[in-house]
Subunit: 244 residues, 2 copies
């Protein structure tokens, strides 16, 4: 499985991905699922992937191979909307190319992408590209998307994340969402790849890899876990009617 | 959908069920999913159900109809293990009876049950009965089971519930687990049915229905939500390396 979150907020974008892939619990490996494209001062485009690893890697390879060619590509498109279209079209191309052989084998070749970033002259944008290649865009009402194993980590995002949350706060909220998911689902695992983009900076950040045992993340996890237990113990006593 | 939690702890048992059923988002209804059987001073058996409503209701009706007959039933079995077997066998009977007509229609008739309680001379016990009629038992390592939409509400149980948690604390933990689920999934909804059983009391509690707008639950939800936001804002500042 996989878990990726992306947020499009007033101050910029936050992306966090896990790096575990598995084909059964006895076949676990580490693969990066966060990819950065861009030209400093001009554009940043971040992709995150979930689903069939062969498919998502092929999509990314094809997207890379076509950079600096005449084919519409992530460095030539004029808008993020067009970037999401290029990603969607490439998903369709790979699904069509590989799907014939897999038909009837019961193997699910589908993959999905989050596509976010900023191109000079535009605001930031974030898209959730479905396995069928179509996509939806984030809005101030729904400023984040998840792909992969989304349920365990959704409650904290629904409670605490708002479009105007600052980037640091949003990143911590994402880290807590990952902590909840990693605790409950073995198929989501460390290290985490994260990238924070400040709106209008037009920088191409390298991002950061949070390794197992990273002292900041370990501290956050511990403080959060202890804090939750304290919160629970501070809740008012249960009415008698509940207990009889 | 449905969400039910049951806990088998040092001091007794805690059961909480939602009451929403749906056949599509435009066909929502309220049905109780927590059923109590027992004889004061002698036994308490609590059932919780998830899955196809026609199937789970048929199972419960058949179990009720057979009380006070020669058929092995929930008031005649000598152990909770036998009670779980009776429930499992009844699930198989209903699945077999109704399954033939449904075959090939794509309708999923399966249902699952949690079965917990105490029979005089035994300790408390809790079983998770699968749609196939077989079942597993809770242990001190894994003192709770969930059926239905379990993922949103699992992280808080994994973090805060232990076999030796006291019953009030465990009930509050379950209520928070329901709050997380209700916020994230429309198909899980109020009112909640809950029942707390104190070990060796051999009482047959009626349980309590937490209605929409219940002041205690509303207060807990608000305090929890505000507390989480405070916790998040108290986390240490993010290292520079994370933000660049």
């Amino acid at each position: 499985m996989t878990y990726c979150v992306a947020m499009n907020l007033t101050d910029g974008l936050v992306f966090v991905s896990d790096s575990r892939t598995n084909a059964g619990v006895d076949h676990i490996a580490t693969f990066r699922k966060l990819y950065v494209f861009g030209t400093p001062g001009e554009r940043l485009i971040v992709l995150q992937t979930a689903g069939n690893l062969a498919s998502s890697q092929s999509v990314v390879n094809l997207l890379r191979q076509r950079l600096h060619t005449d084919h519409p590509n992530l460095l030539s498109v004029q808008t993020l909307f067009e970037a999401a279209r290029v990603v969607g079209d490439t998903i369709r191309e790979i699904t069509h190319h590989d799907g014939t052989q897999a038909a009837g084998t019961g193997i699910d070749l589908s993959c999905s992408f989050l596509v976010g970033g900023q191109i000079k002259g535009e605001s930031t944008a974030l898209f959730n590209v479905y396995p069928q290649g179509n996509f939806i865009s984030s809005t101030p009402d729904t400023p984040y998307f998840q792909i992969g194993e989304s349920k365990y980590g959704k409650p904290i995002l629904d409670r605490a994340l708002r479009h105007d949350s600052d980037l640091e706060q949003a990143l911590r909220c994402a880290l807590i969402s990952f902590d909840s998911t990693i605790r409950s689902n073995l198929s989501v695992g460390m290290p985490l790849d994260l990238l924070v983009y400040r709106k209008d900076s037009l920088l191409v950040p390298a991002g950061y890899r949070v390794q197992e045992g990273d002292p900041y993340f370990a501290g956050v996890r511990e403080q959060w876990c202890n804090g939750l237990r304290d919160l629970l113990s501070q809740l008012p006593g249960t009415p008698d009617a509940y207990m009889t």
